[in-house]
């Protein structure tokens, strides 16, 4: 699989190394849903830096990951959307409404740390 999930403290990080097929995206979604509970994670980061296209299916799966994480008590952050990818998503009419995003992994970690500091339940 072109994506691996790493655990760092209370945060799960999916690092995607190459283009993902629809099936691999679904596998990633399911792996997150399972591990958020197993590791009692408070945060989930999906790093899409390596993806050169986010189409409607990928966008929908990212939304599913984020909403599922939220229902399991964790906050999801999508990081690393490349500038051309962001522009193309806007042109196509795709959005990640209501989902936290950050420029890169570092910013994503900082965002989750700030949320944790304010109290995760407040969000």
């Amino acid at each position: 699989m072109a994506a691996t999930i790493l655990k760092q403290g209370k945060v799960l990080i999916a690092s995607i190394q190459a283009a993902l097929s629809d099936r691999e995206l679904i596998e990633l979604r399911d792996a997150f849903a399972d591990r958020v509970g197993r590791f009692r994670s408070h945060g989930v980061i999906v790093d899409v830096t390596a993806l050169d296209v986010l189409d409607s299916f990928a966008t929908r799966t990212l939304r599913d990951i984020a909403y599922t994480a939220k229902l399991r008590g964790a906050t999801a952050v999508v990081v690393g959307i490349q500038p051309e990818v962001a522009f193309a998503m806007v042109q196509l009419g795709l959005s990640l409404d209501g989902i936290a995003t950050a420029l890169d992994l570092e910013e994503g970690m900082a965002l989750l740390a700030a949320i944790e500091e304010d109290g995760p339940r407040a969000r």
Partner: protein
């Protein structure tokens, strides 16, 4: 002889292949990386439509020239069930599959020319062109 490439779309992994092939061709034709991304996105959406509705189909990518400009022509054909109401299928947010309903209207928005020819029982052909500015 101008460049032409064909991608058989028979499973969801072919969607990835199709968008990689079209991106490589768009790059070779000198499209900007932003346009390459838009073209790859449009192809991803129509390839997924084939997999979702028709099971299999063929995408043909070719270099075109209108005398002054170079462009890329993408033709997607399938012998699937066809689309009963093309106008409805082109509407944002309309989907009969479990998707966002942004595929076809989105592909139309990000290309310069977009034509769809479909009828129930006669399959679907989509022709879209992106011109290099």
């Amino acid at each position: 002889m101008q460049d032409e490439a064909q991608v058989a779309v028979e499973s969801e992994s072919d969607i990835v292949t199709a968008r990689q092939r079209v991106r490589a061709m768009a790059a070779a034709l000198g499209f900007s990386s932003t346009d390459q991304t838009l073209i790859a996105l449009a192809v991803s959406e129509i390839a997924r439509n084939i997999v979702s509705y028709a099971t299999r189909g063929l995408i043909t990518l070719s270099e075109v020239d209108d005398g002054g400009r170079a462009g890329i022509l993408i033709v997607a054909h399938d012998d699937g069930p066809g689309i009963a109401d093309v106008e409805l299928a082109m509407r944002d947010g309309y989907s009969t599959a479990r998707s966002l309903g942004m595929g076809l209207p989105g592909a139309k928005r990000v290309t310069d020319e977009f034509e769809i020819d479909s009828a129930p029982g006669h399959g679907t052909t989509i022709r879209m062109t992106k011109w290099r500015p």
